[in-house]
């Protein structure tokens, strides 16, 4: 495989509600920033790809409007996935393997605040047996959490600790939405939202956008002093129906991690896309992360969760720690679908 690296990353602040800017107004300055940070002129970008979902805005073709932010003139080679931006990044990585272009731009945007997200996500479910019952996204995650508690794989206290730890780490992240010091006892004393989940176990509703520039080989080396080389990237999917899956495990994460060369690799940092506290436990187990790995130094998805963006944020946050020398090797994970149905894993490394 050709060496491909993340050479720059930029994000908007994640906000409970971005009232003033529409998607294009959020994206245009962000794309300018990520390109400038890469040190690569815009005209060298050979491929552009984005991730978003029409259902967040309730309107078809929302990605078409967002294209205005790119300045696609003269016409560009461009694609879009109706998925998290992390999967768009995978498409860009594949495209760069062809060898005829050296630079790709990846972006994602999502305003989760426009509708009632936990209800909007019901439309993702099997339309015959499940969606007609309108089981909201928090209820489904709660079913998974209960399975985990019943199996003795975690406790409600651990879940609260995970929530508190992520939000404490987010204090260092100016783009995060929920940050601060939370007392675990106080969290545990709070009422259930959908038992066994309490409010702190759930991600915030966030509006935001993120972008990454990828470059191959010497172009990456020329652009930045310490590219975040993608050593492996893979994604896998599981059956859709919750009743068919073992909700306590994430075999697709493990499989993707094996394909990406993560299993057995020693990593300094892991950015895990675990929107719900208990899912961090599942992912840690699936990735077999040791005790010394710094998990979610950004605060993770519990601190900021713009839909369609949060996975790309994990890749960007992990890469940024290699780019600035804080980490040598990092793993990033992104998820899609109810209860971790689909998972992407990426191993990144800096030059020694």
């Amino acid at each position: 495989m050709r060496d491909v690296a993340i050479v720059s990353f930029a994000q908007t602040p994640s906000l409970r509600r971005e009232r003033d800017k529409d998607e294009v107004e959020m994206l245009a300055p962000l794309l300018g920033e990520v390109i400038e940070r890469s040190g690569i002129p815009r005209k060298e970008i050979g491929f552009t790809v984005s991730g978003s979902s029409d259902y967040l805005t309730g309107r078809p073709f929302s990605f078409v409007i967002a294209l205005d932010a790119v300045g696609a003139w003269p016409p560009i080679e461009e694609s879009h996935v109706e998925m998290d931006g992390a999967f768009a990044l995978h498409e860009a990585w594949v495209r760069l393997q062809h060898g005829d272009i050296d630079v790709a731009l990846v972006y994602a945007f999502g305003k989760s605040s426009l509708g009632s997200l936990r209800d909007v996500l019901v439309t993702q479910l099997d339309p015959y047996y499940t969606a007609p019952l309108w089981p909201d996204a928090i209820s489904l995650a709660a079913l998974q959490a209960r399975a985990l508690l019943d199996a003795g794989l975690c406790t409600e206290r651990e879940m609260a600790q995970i929530a508190a730890r992520n939000r404490a780490k987010a204090r260092q992240n100016p783009f995060a939405q929920l940050r601060g010091d939370f007392d675990v006892e106080a969290l545990l004393a709070s009422p259930y939202l959908v038992s066994p989940l309490r409010k702190h176990d759930c991600p915030p509703i966030s509006d935001g956008a993120a972008a990454v520039v990828l470059a191959a080989g010497d172009r990456a080396r020329k652009a930045v002093s310490r590219p975040a080389w993608i050593r492996g990237i893979d994604h896998r999917i599981e059956p859709h129906s919750l009743g068919v899956r073992d909700l306590c495990r994430s075999p697709s994460t493990t499989l993707a991690a094996r394909k990406a060369g993560v299993l057995g690799a020693s990593v300094d940092v892991a950015e895990l896309h675990a929107p719900f506290s208990h899912q961090e436990v599942i992912l840690r187990n699936a990735l077999d992360l040791g005790p010394n790995v710094d998990i979610n130094p950004s605060g993770g998805a519990l601190a900021a969760h713009p839909m369609m963006v949060a996975g790309l944020l994990r890749l960007g946050e992990a890469a940024s720690r290699i780019l600035d020398g804080r980490a040598k090797r990092a793993v990033a994970h992104a998820t899609s679908g109810p209860c971790l149905q689909q998972n992407l894993v990426c191993l990144m490394e800096g030059d020694p």
């Binding site: 003033d20 800017k21 529409d22 245009a28 309730g58 300045g71 696609a72 509708g115």
Partner: protein, 162 residues
């Protein structure tokens, strides 16, 4: 036993609250005052009406606000003869692209005030506004466009806006 079940009805109702964004808000507030407001690109200097936040060819936030006339030239159009869900106009009617004087991009709207067969490319038009008391910051404050009576604009003057 009665007939097998072959289909189901699946109602969906999702409520949203949509933001207009900076640029469109400025435009719509001007519309409520009976004015067209464009914005000029800081790089290519083209004037966009309505402004959609950025210059789509430069990818940059649009710059200074520019007043644009409520008169313009019909660049192209179609005559609609087909009813569809949610449509309220009496058939047939004309939906056109109008290049407002001072703008660099055509504005889509209805053309009324002359028989349908007389509608033609190059026709000079002027916006017909809702009465001031009924104007709101929505596109519906412009009722339609109707002929000014000026001579038609030459093809060369708008052929780059098709």
């Amino acid at each position: 036993m009665s007939e097998p079940v072959r289909r189901i009805k699946a109602p969906v109702r999702l409520a949203f609250e949509i933001n207009a964004g900076h640029a469109l808000t400025g435009f719509l507030r001007a519309i409520a005052e009976g004015r067209f407001l464009g914005q000029r690109c800081v790089s290519c200097h083209k004037v966009y009406v309505p402004p959609r936040g950025v210059c789509p060819t430069c990818g940059l936030l649009l710059g200074e606000e520019v007043p644009v006339a409520d008169t313009g030239t019909l660049t192209t159009f179609c005559t609609v003869n087909v009813p569809y869900e949610g449509q309220t106009m009496k058939l047939p009617y004309v939906y056109g692209s109008i290049l407002l004087d001072g703008a660099d991009i055509p504005f889509p709207h209805l053309v009324q005030g002359l028989p349908v067969p007389e509608v033609r490319m190059g026709l000079r038009l002027k916006a017909v506004w809702a009465p001031p008391a009924e104007r709101k910051p929505t596109m519906e404050s412009i009722l339609w466009f109707s002929p000014t009576g000026e001579p038609d604009a030459p093809f060369a003057s708008y052929q780059e806006h098709l």
